[in-house]
């Protein structure tokens, strides 16, 4: 499903080059559950951004569902992200002016779905995530855990094939963090590919496949 071959990502900082990723080869199958761990600055987010089509590698090839995605235009990349990829961020990134339900519905708006259909879908998803009572709340009226659940609803609403989560529990306490991971794992059980970047060893261990990055290289790739 995701096939990375010889991926490197260099950043130019003044006159020094930072090798954020060097020669990454990685194959991730449909329905996999993968955690990425490693010290700060090891390139975890950079790898995730490349998988997410938010960043372009300096070198290497990337096949997504057998399709070469390197060199696609902004428009095409946006469409792939919209339809195939769900995002969960450390800082939730909800739009504070909009209600929880409106935040969840944004991907549907971007896809041009008619309002009625949108409303039904948003309600159904929010209910299944235990947020039925919170649909008209603004983000600042929600707890951290609720916010992240709203964000997961948003990531889910388009039925993506893969969910990318960059430190999804980074801003939550342990208990709510676990609940959020439980939710994501439930989605994975339904067949969604799940990739989680985390600093939390316990959370990282829960994945069936665990990558470890150091200095932009994969130094460990454990499956069980």
């Amino acid at each position: 499903m995701i096939l990375l071959n010889g991926i490197s990502r260099d950043f130019l900082l003044g006159d020094t080059t930072v090798h954020a990723l060097s020669d990454i080869n990685l194959e991730i199958g449909q329905g996999d559950y993968l955690s990425i761990m490693g010290p700060s600055g090891s390139g975890k987010s950079t790898l995730l951004n490349i998988i997410a089509l938010l960043d372009r590698p300096s070198k290497g090839s990337y096949l997504l569902n057998q399709k070469n995605v390197i060199g696609l235009h902004d428009e095409e990349l946006a469409k792939i992200r919209r339809e195939n990829i769900g995002f969960v961020f450390q800082f939730f990134h909800l739009i504070h002016r909009l209600t929880a339900a409106e935040n969840v519905g944004i991907p549907l708006i971007l896809s041009g779905m008619p309002p009625q259909e949108r409303r039904e879908r948003v309600e159904a998803v929010m209910e299944s995530f235990g947020l039925a009572e919170r649909t008209h709340h603004k983000p600042d009226q929600l707890s951290g855990g609720e916010r992240q659940r709203v964000a997961i609803c948003r990531a889910m609403i388009m039925h993506p094939t893969v969910i990318l989560a960059d430190e999804p529990t980074g801003n939550l306490d342990q208990v709510t963090g676990r609940q959020v991971i439980d939710l994501l794992e439930d989605l994975n059980k339904e067949g969604v590919t799940l990739i989680v970047v985390t600093h939390d060893v316990d959370i990282g261990k829960r994945a069936r496949r665990r990558l470890r990055l150091v200095d932009g290289r994969i130094v460990e790739d454990i499956r069980n």
Binding site: N49, A52, L54, D55, D74, E75, A78, K79, R81, R82, E83, I85, F87, F89, F91, H93, I95, R97, L98, I106, P107, I109, L110, S111, G112, P114, P115, R154
Partner: protein
Amino acid sequence: MRYIDNLNLAFNAIGAHHVRTLLILIGISIGVSSVILLTALGDSARRYVISEFAALGTNLIVILPGRSETTGGPPPLMGETPRDLTVDDAMSLLRSYNISRVAPITVGSTPVNYQGRERVVDVIGTTADMKEIRHLEMAQGDFLPRTDPREASPVCVVGEKIRKELFGPEKSLGEWLRTGNRRCRVIGIIKSTGVSIGVDLDDIVIIPVASAQILFDSPGLFRVLVEAKRSSLIGAASEDARQIIKDRHEGEDDITIITQDSIIATFDKILSTLTYGLAGIGTISLAVAGILIMNVMLVSVAQRRNEIGLLKAIGAPKHEILKLFISEALLFSVSGALLGLLLGLGATEIIKRLYPTFPVAVPAWGIIAACGIAIITGVLFGVLPAKRAAELDPILALEKH
């Protein structure tokens, strides 16, 4: 993204900052209303002046002695001073089929005396046709009688103001006035028309042209008023007049002809230009409003980096972000334009109430220009911030809070 959703999001974003939005709306609406108000004033002045000139008569041609154009050639060998225009010259113009009426005019000022009350007034010597040519109306009595223009009958017609000053509440018709060294009987009072361009008809005494020539001892006319039969014949009538006078003046073309429509056209042009100039000044304030929009939107883009980054990450292409922000600019400028339209129309309404005699009205082009320019500047100044938003790198935008 659907249009309605785009608008909704834009509306939502604008609504989140009341003070900022209000300031922008005030800025734009002041610009729009000042364009509307200034064009209304300019255009009304234009229409006012034109209607005043039109009221002087219809299909009017004015003939003056002497040539006013400088030909630039060597001075004429014979006779520097032009010939006088005489009453006979004037009356001979009636030979033209294109000319319906002719009124020779002599002017001067002289003391007028009635039973010891004396005033110096402007006296006009003319003929009966003056009444029709200048659309004069009588308050009492009649205008000059239709007699031989060479006949100096002892009659006069006076303006309303003169009547008041000389006679007060007493009877004036049939009374004898002394104008200069001649006596004349008052046979009519001109109806007051308020101030008109040129002569104040309330403040004059009109006597037969022959009487005036004797009074002022001048055989030459001040000018001749000519009325063409139809407006389409004004050109032909002017040509005829020029030819007739030339024949009578031994082939010398020594008159100046001014047509009413050329005066009106000139004033129309001058005042239109003035109005456009005023509209231009108003437009500057719209440009200022445009810069205001740009600033506010740049701040807004900076503050909403996160939101923009998120939208891009979850699949909004650049052009959707661009559209979203241009919609915001458009909302600002359209609502500001509407508000300004209301303000401008309200202000003209107030002026109308305060000065009922001055016909203020907003020309359609003024409204279209004001609103059009407001909306165009809004969008133009919105493009830069919108582009900046569209080009934002989602990774950097999402990095920190």
